[in-house]
C-alpha cells in the first residue's frame, strides 16, 4: 500500500492517542510532561503532512512555532516540578490534589 496522507494522519493520531493515554494514566509528573511533548509532536506531524499535501509551507511555520512554544513550556513546567519536589519530596500527582478538597 503506497504511503499517502492517510498513513501520515493515522500515525499522527496514533501517537497523539498514546500521548493522551500517558497523560491521563501515569502518576509521575515527569512522564506526564513527556506525554504532553508526545502530543505536540504528533500534531507537528499532522501539520507537516498537510503542508506537503497542500503544497504550502505554512504548516512548517506553525510546526516551528509549536516546537519553540513547547520548549518554553517544558522549561517552565520543569521548574514548577523542581519547586514542588523541593517542598513535598514527591512527584506523584496523586499527592498533589489539594485543589480537590
Amino acid at each position: 500500500m503506497s504511503v499517502g496522507l492517510s498513513q501520515y494522519i493515522a500515525l499522527s493520531t496514533l501517537i497523539f492517542i498514546i500521548g493522551v493515554f500517558g497523560f491521563v494514566w501515569r502518576r509521575n509528573f515527569l512522564i506526564v510532561l513527556m506525554s504532553i511533548e508526545l502530543m505536540l509532536n504528533a500534531v507537528n506531524l499532522a501539520f507537516l503532512a498537510f503542508a506537503r499535501y497542500w503544497g504550502g509551507a505554512e504548516g512548517h511555520v506553525l510546526a516551528f512555532f509549536v516546537i519553540a512554544v513547547a520548549a518554553a513550556e517544558a522549561a517552565v513546567g520543569l521548574s514548577i516540578l523542581i519547586m514542588i519536589y523541593r517542598r513535598r519530596e514527591t512527584v506523584d500527582v496523586t499527592d498533589l490534589q489539594e485543589l480537590r478538597e
Binding site: 492517510s6 493520531t13 503542508a51 511555520v61 521548574s79 506523584d92
Partner: protein, 167 residues
C-alpha cells in the same frame, strides 16, 4: 523506497511513544522519547520538511529531552519509588474505544483525498522557503515568539531559584 522508509520511521516513532508512556523508570521513558522524536524527525524529512527536521533534532530531541534528563538527574528520581503501574484491561476499554473512534473519524475524513497532489518547488520546506514565509506573513508571531521565550526563561529562573519559597 520512500514507502519502506516511512514504515521504518513510523515503527520507531510509535514504539518509542509506547515505551515512553509505559516505562517505570523516568530515565528510560526520556530516552524512549528521544528515540521517538528521532523517528518523527525522519518522517519530517520524508515530507520534505528540512528545516523542521533539523529543528526537531536540535531543539526537541537535543534540548528538551536533555533538559528532562537533567531534571531527573537533579532530583535523583528512582524508578520504584514513584508508582505502581497497574492497569486492568477492563479499565482501558473506554479509552481504547474512544481512541479507535477518533482514528476512524479522522481517517474517514482524509480517506477520500488523493495522496499528495501538490507540486512543490525546490524551496519547499527548506530554510529559505520557510524563512520567506516566516519573515513576511508570519513576522508578527515570530517576534511575539521571541517574547514568549524571554518570558519562559525569566519565569523558569525565578521559579527555580532557592529562597523563592520564603516570600
Amino acid at each position: 523506497m520512500n514507502d519502506a522508509l516511512f514504515y521504518i520511521f513510523a515503527v520507531i516513532a510509535a514504539a518509542g511513544a509506547v515505551f515512553t508512556v509505559t516505562r517505570k523508570s523516568p530515565l528510560a521513558a526520556a530516552l524512549s522519547l528521544a528515540v521517538s522524536m528521532i523517528g518523527l524527525a525522519g518522517l519530517f524529512l520524508l515530507l520534505q520538511g528540512y528545516l523542521v527536521f533539523v529543528l526537531q533534532i536540535l531543539v526537541y530531541a537535543g534540548a528538551v529531552v536533555v533538559l528532562i534528563i537533567f531534571v531527573i538527574m537533579l532530583l535523583n528520581l528512582r524508578a520504584e519509588a514513584v508508582e505502581h503501574l497497574n492497569l486492568s484491561w477492563r479499565k482501558a476499554i473506554p479509552g481504547v474505544v474512544l481512541g479507535g473512534a477518533l482514528l476512524v473519524i479522522l481517517l474517514s475524513a482524509v480517506r477520500g483525498l488523493p495522496q499528495f497532489p501538490a507540486e512543490v518547488d525546490a524551496e519547499f520546506g527548506t530554510v529559505e522557503g520557510v524563512g520567506q514565509l516566516l519573515f513576511s506573513r508570519f513576522a508578527f508571531p515570530f517576534e511575539v515568539l521571541s517574547l514568549v521565550l524571554l518570558v519562559a526563561i525569566v519565569g523558569a529562573v525565578v521559579l527555580a531559584r532557592k529562597g523563592g519559597d520564603e516570600e
